[in-house]
């Protein structure tokens, strides 16, 4: 006997009064455990897919940007025309520091978002994913503006 189903053992005891199963609420132990009630908040698979893409973009996009930034001097050596020659400090900043910071930050943000989505908190997960996307977008635009790379 328990507080969840007080008739459970009583129905098993031959000396007990038979109260019948109808007195047991179907929301208790009599429920079919196999069915998932659709009223429960559920994780959004589409949002999770977006978070997956953002998580990989957070790694690949800074990689592509950094390689483009450092490709610029080689392109100049090969005779190609770069948009504008920029300082070495700008190149280091836009090719190393900002991509690394962006990758780490966006990966963390997207990971938090995916975790929230998995925990069926879709709204909070969407907010975290939007933050990750914002970080990626700002970094891409800033690098493009600083070094003149026509990436996006």
């Amino acid at each position: 006997m328990s507080i969840f189903d007080p008739y459970k053992v009583a129905a098993n005891d031959p000396t007990a009064v038979r109260l019948g199963r109808a007195t047991v609420s179907p929301t208790l132990a009599g429920t079919d455990l196999g069915r998932i009630d659709q009223g429960r908040p559920q994780a959004s698979g589409a949002l999770y897919a977006v978070g997956f893409v953002l998580g990989w973009a957070a790694i690949l996009l800074p990689l592509i940007l950094a390689s483009l930034v450092y490709l610029t001097p080689f392109a100049v050596d090969e005779g190609w025309q770069t948009p504008e020659p920029v300082d070495a400090g700008v190149v280091v900043m836009a090719g190393t520091i900002v991509p690394i910071v962006t990758a780490v930050l966006a990966t963390i943000l997207a990971g938090i978002g995916r975790r929230q989505i998995k925990a069926t908190r879709n709204g909070a997960g969407a907010v975290w994913l939007a933050l990750a996307f914002g970080v990626l977008a700002v970094a891409t635009v800033w690098i493009g503006d600083t070094t003149g790379i026509p990436f996006p």
Binding site: N12, R18, D32, G45, A49, Q81
Partner: protein, 236 residues
Amino acid sequence: MSWFPEQSAPVPQPPAPVSGATGGTPVDPLERARRQLADQLAQHKRLLDQNVAAQRQTLGQNLTQRTEAVTQPWQRPPQQGQNPTQPPQPFAGQQGSPAGQNQAASSQAARPGQNAPATANSAGPTNTARPAMPGLVLTNVLLVLATLAFIIWHVVTWTGTLVDAVAACGDAGGTLDCFTGDAMRTWLFLPLVAAIGAFGASAGTRIETRQGRQRGYLIGLAGFALLALSISMSYS
């Protein structure tokens, strides 16, 4: 002692010793009482065992319910299938007492009302917490395999074209636009996005599969559509 010798034997006997009477030898009343006591003891022990078993079952079900309430849908432990509305088995087979029949009948009567949605919802006889969606699982597997095949096919087919296009762009006195131009977008960036997006759609489909929602097919379809879009753009 009667006058008729053939009747004299059964008269002093007690009425037919129930158990363990061997060959008509009279059973010692003390022995008989001991055996009755042993029988009662055994029966009590059996009842006690049944109660313990039922209690264990109840506790297990409560634990299952609480676990189901607390954890996420896909983190639930697998349940052992059958519906707990069944009466405990050992009591039903016990000498057909009217109480047992009554209980069985009442539980049988109560079952259709409670189990009808369950049997309508679950496809198979086994009711598992993770709904069986073989179609969605198959779609997901196909999507992953198609993505891998797409990556291999794309690298094998279009790498030469991409390198030639970029080299021609450079030879024509191009700028850094050659690395971000149409050729790179068509044959590198878009396939990259398509492959990652297809894998992401596979992850989303997996989540929807664990939740038993049909909309997982839509997400899988979106993954296939991404792959098809990239392929068509590569050829155009």
